[in-house]
């Protein structure tokens, strides 16, 4: 199915948000995740199922003012 990750459309087989992060290679990177505008804690990624057209944000620390 096609979903949107960080604004980029992509094809994925991942069933859950945890699978997606693993498939994309984030591994143990320090990231935060959101699905369709709502925060998904790391502890909930494994039971957060993905659906076609879902919009995922994967964010990491950056400079800020």
């Amino acid at each position: 199915m096609r979903i949107v990750v960080n604004g980029q459309s992509l094809e994925t087989d991942a069933a859950t948000l945890a699978d997606l992060c693993a498939d994309l290679g984030y591994g143990d990177a320090k990231i935060g995740t959101a699905l369709n505008g709502a925060f998904v804690p790391a502890s909930r990624r494994a039971d957060t199922r993905l659906r076609a057209d879902d919009r995922v944000e994967i964010l990491a620390p950056r400079q800020g003012g």
């Binding site: 990177a29 925060f39 964010l59 003012g65």
Partner: protein, 263 residues
């Protein structure tokens, strides 16, 4: 100088620094050190799968040994700000959040309606909210009612470097909330601006562009550190009142009178 307490925590420095816009991470590191900042602001941005830029930055920040204050920069709605805040709490492992809900790109000024709404939700969710706001007293009262224990009014638009464009309004705000920690956030361009804010009784200042975009950011960080101390000491020492007329400093009594006609 008297200590600063924010949400029950003693903060060792009244100068808070942003981490963006520096020529290099190393210059940023040195600037934070030169500023003797105890709090730095950070953000969350999209991470490509193989960048690891976030990890690198995070390691750098952790080595600074300072508190981080994540922001919600770029958010336009309470919903965006709340989600960003929740992600930041997990990633940065802190319940402090610098809450920005922006009204428009020209001024990057707070959308005070979205700000109050997000502040209510986040405070209820256990966050310690540092709201980026204006000098509007009514908005400030709603933020306090929402659970904020600190307010961060702007001096002028983010990145404008114009200093305190409405000193009258900021003076009124300080007088109206004598017991609330007030931090000037955004718009300071020169050390004298920081000193002026502190002399007015503001508790701290937060800035970024003025240091990061100086020709020599590390030296400028030191300059602001001294300016903040200067202003705070000046506030504590009690400024002389302005006078309309001149008044001699050198004693008038005993002034010689050289009678020139006689000579």
């Amino acid at each position: 100088m008297s200590p600063l307490s924010l949400y029950g925590e003693i903060i060792a420095s009244r100068l808070m620094l942003g981490t963006a816009l520096y020529p290099s991470p190393e210059v940023m590191r040195q600037a934070v050190a030169a500023a003797a900042a105890a709090v730095v602001t950070v953000s969350l941005r999209r991470e490509g799968a193989h960048d690891r830029a976030g990890q690198t930055f995070w390691t750098l920040i952790q080595d600074l040994g300072v508190r981080v204050l994540p922001n919600t920069a770029g958010c336009r709605s309470p919903r965006e700000a709340i989600t960003t805040a929740q992600m930041a709490r997990e990633v940065f492992e802190t319940d402090w959040i610098k809450l920005e809900v922006i009204a428009n790109d020209d001024t990057l000024q707070p959308d005070v309606f979205g700000l109050v709404e997000a502040a209510q939700a986040l405070s209820a969710d256990g966050f310690k909210v540092f709201p980026y706001t204006t000098e509007d007293l009514g908005v400030a009262e709603r933020l306090l009612a929402a659970g904020c224990e600190v307010l961060m009014p702007w001096a002028s638009p983010i990145g404008a470097g114009r200093g305190l464009i409405n000193p009258y309004g900021l003076r009124a705000m300080r007088a109206y909330f004598p017991g609330t920690p007030l931090i000037i956030d955004a718009g300071l361009g020169a050390p004298s601006h920081a000193a002026q804010a502190m002399e007015m009784g503001y508790d701290a200042v937060l800035l970024n562009t003025a240091v990061a975009k100086a020709d020599d950011p590390v030296k400028m960080a030191a300059a602001f550190a001294k300016a903040v101390e200067a202003g705070r000491l000046g506030f504590e020492a009690g400024l002389m009142p302005e006078r309309d007329m001149a008044q001699p400093s050198t004693p008038v009594a005993g002034t010689p009178f050289f009678d020139l006609n006689h000579a």
